[in-house]
Amino acid sequence: MIDNSDAYRQKRRFGMAVMILLLVFAALPTVWVLILSLRQPFAIFEPIWESPLALTLENFFKITRSDFPRALLNSFATAGLSTAFAMLVGVPAGFALAKARLAGKFMASWVLLLLRMAPPVGFVIPLFLAYVNAGLIDTYTGLVFAYMTLTLPLVVWSMWNSFAQVPDELIEAAIMDDASLAQAFFLVALPAARPGAVAAAILAFLVAWNDFFYALIITRSDTATAPVAVMNFISYDSVDWASIAVASIALTLPILPLMAIANRYIVQSLSGAVKG
């Protein structure tokens, strides 16, 4: 049905204008942060069209001489470790929840959802007091433990969903053929649920990587993660905008490939929860 009336064309033009406006909204901050990261110090407060060539890579080198690279490593280590532990403990649990005949499955699903939805301030207050007494403030152990409250419910929940999609008959057949439960898990169920496991690991890593609140409360200078360390570029009398821009880029770049892999799965798992 091709409609070439003036009204239709006008509508199309209006639609285009709206899309371009939305594109500006979506892309402007990204472009802006790239410009900011490349600005020469004297030109930071000048509009880009007044001195478009006052650019430098120095801001990127400067930040390597600060504490920030170490904070990035802290982020990698703590997010990675808490994801690894959560997978180690959570994947078998997800399998059992999907396949065992258990009472209280609804209870389990509620608890898992609640742990993902509950505001972290509730966990942080008792953790903080316990950590002060146990000497766990500003330690990797303390931070990895704290991140388990974020990563573990996520992993168990998504692996439960993934294993639920593996047909029961597959597991039963393996057990009929004298496979042990461990064999059925490692040789049959796990390979079938591998894409789900990859996605669960990515999502767990992302929540720990993006965390600001836990790290703010229970880290100090030694184990500060990147999101907390960025704040060091803001002091009472001045703000180091160029370093903030570089740090924002450094915070985002490492997770872009992960987002690209997981993004399809995020929609699937979320819309699956309501649409079925």
């Binding site: 939305l22 594109l23 649990a93 059992a96 301030v121 509730g122 993004n263 649409k275």
Partner: protein, 298 residues
């Protein structure tokens, strides 16, 4: 016969035991890392614990009684509501507009959708810092651009509704792609036949949208609202970075207020009581989500 049955029953028992064994480490971890801290939060909420003064081991309802007459708490609930209502509206509107627009874009321009997804990948602290820079009048290219036409953009972060607006903008920028993804998935599930049939029956576009498309989108919209509301219970990095709850207390959402009471005013017990209230709200919502989920999966 009887023997094999008994043997099978034994095997089933062993199997179920095996499943329980697989769950054990996770159950222990959840108890240790989540249930124990939660129990601690509840205990603290009924206590008189103060970060500096310590405790006299007096337990009671006083923190909850105090909440009833706490104007700052009431204010924080309004702030939280404003942030989540305006945020959800903006994100649903922009998300659906982009989703519908992208549907019409085909061919090599399709890669352009990455530009709309990118904001979703940026960690919230970075989002907050980027928008803080864009809302800083001396630095912002937006202010500089409007200055060219002699228009002075107001300093949003120094006025009450301006600061709320600024946080909603930052929140919307990073979260509209979420709404967009969900709506795109829902739109794909709607058969074009339905809309065509309605058109043939003489329905106008607006009527088709209201009576056909919208009802089919309702579950998606409901879910976005739900998830965004749950997230608004945790609103923190953007407030901390962009406004510190100010100017005055105009952006002090409840979660942030609990942080202020606990870690700035050292009033741990009262902070925990506010956290308990937020937790119970989350428990109520997650119960309904779990019910919804159960109906779908069984």
């Amino acid at each position: 016969m009887g023997n094999t049955l008994a043997a099978r029953r034994g095997a089933t028992y062993e199997l179920q035991q095996g499943y329980r064994l697989m769950m054990l480490p996770a159950v222990l971890a959840v108890v240790l890392f989540a249930i124990v801290p939660l129990a601690g939060m509840f205990a603290l909420a009924f206590s008189d614990y103060h970060l500096i003064r310590g405790t006299n081991w007096e337990f009671g309802w006083r923190n909850f009684v105090r909440m009833l007459s706490d104007k700052r708490l009431m204010n924080s609930v309004y702030v939280m509501a404003a942030l989540s209502v305006f945020g959800v509206i903006a994100q649903v509107l922009i998300g659906s507009a982009v989703a519908v627009g992208l549907q019409k874009i085909t061919g090599r321009w399709r890669v352009g959708r990455v530009l709309f997804l990118l904001p979703y990948a940026v960690p919230h602290v970075a989002v907050a810092l980027i928008w803080l820079s864009l809302f800083t009048p001396t630095l912002s290219p937006i202010n500089a651009f409007f200055d060219l036409f002699g228009v002075t953009v107001p300093a949003f972060l120094t006025s009450q509704w301006g600061a709320i607006f600024a946080i909603v903008v930052a929140d919307t920028w990073t979260n509209f792609p979420f709404a967009m993804l969900i709506i795109m998935a829902a739109l794909q599930g709607i058969s074009p036949d339905l809309e065509e049939a309605a058109a043939i029956d003489g329905a106008t576009r607006v009527r088709t949208f209201i009576h056909i498309t919208l009802p089919l989108l309702t579950p998606a919209l409901l879910m976005i609202t739900l998830f965004r509301f749950i997230d608004s219970l945790k609103h923190f990095p953007m407030i901390f970075v962009m406004t510190k709850g100010g100017p005055g207390r105009s952006t002090q959402a409840t979660n942030y207020y609990a942080y202020v009471q606990t870690f700035q005013n050292s009033n741990v017990a009262y902070g925990a009581a506010i956290a308990v209230m937020l937790f119970l709200t989350a428990a109520l919502i997650s119960y309904h989500v779990a019910k919804l989920n159960q109906r779908v999966t069984t």
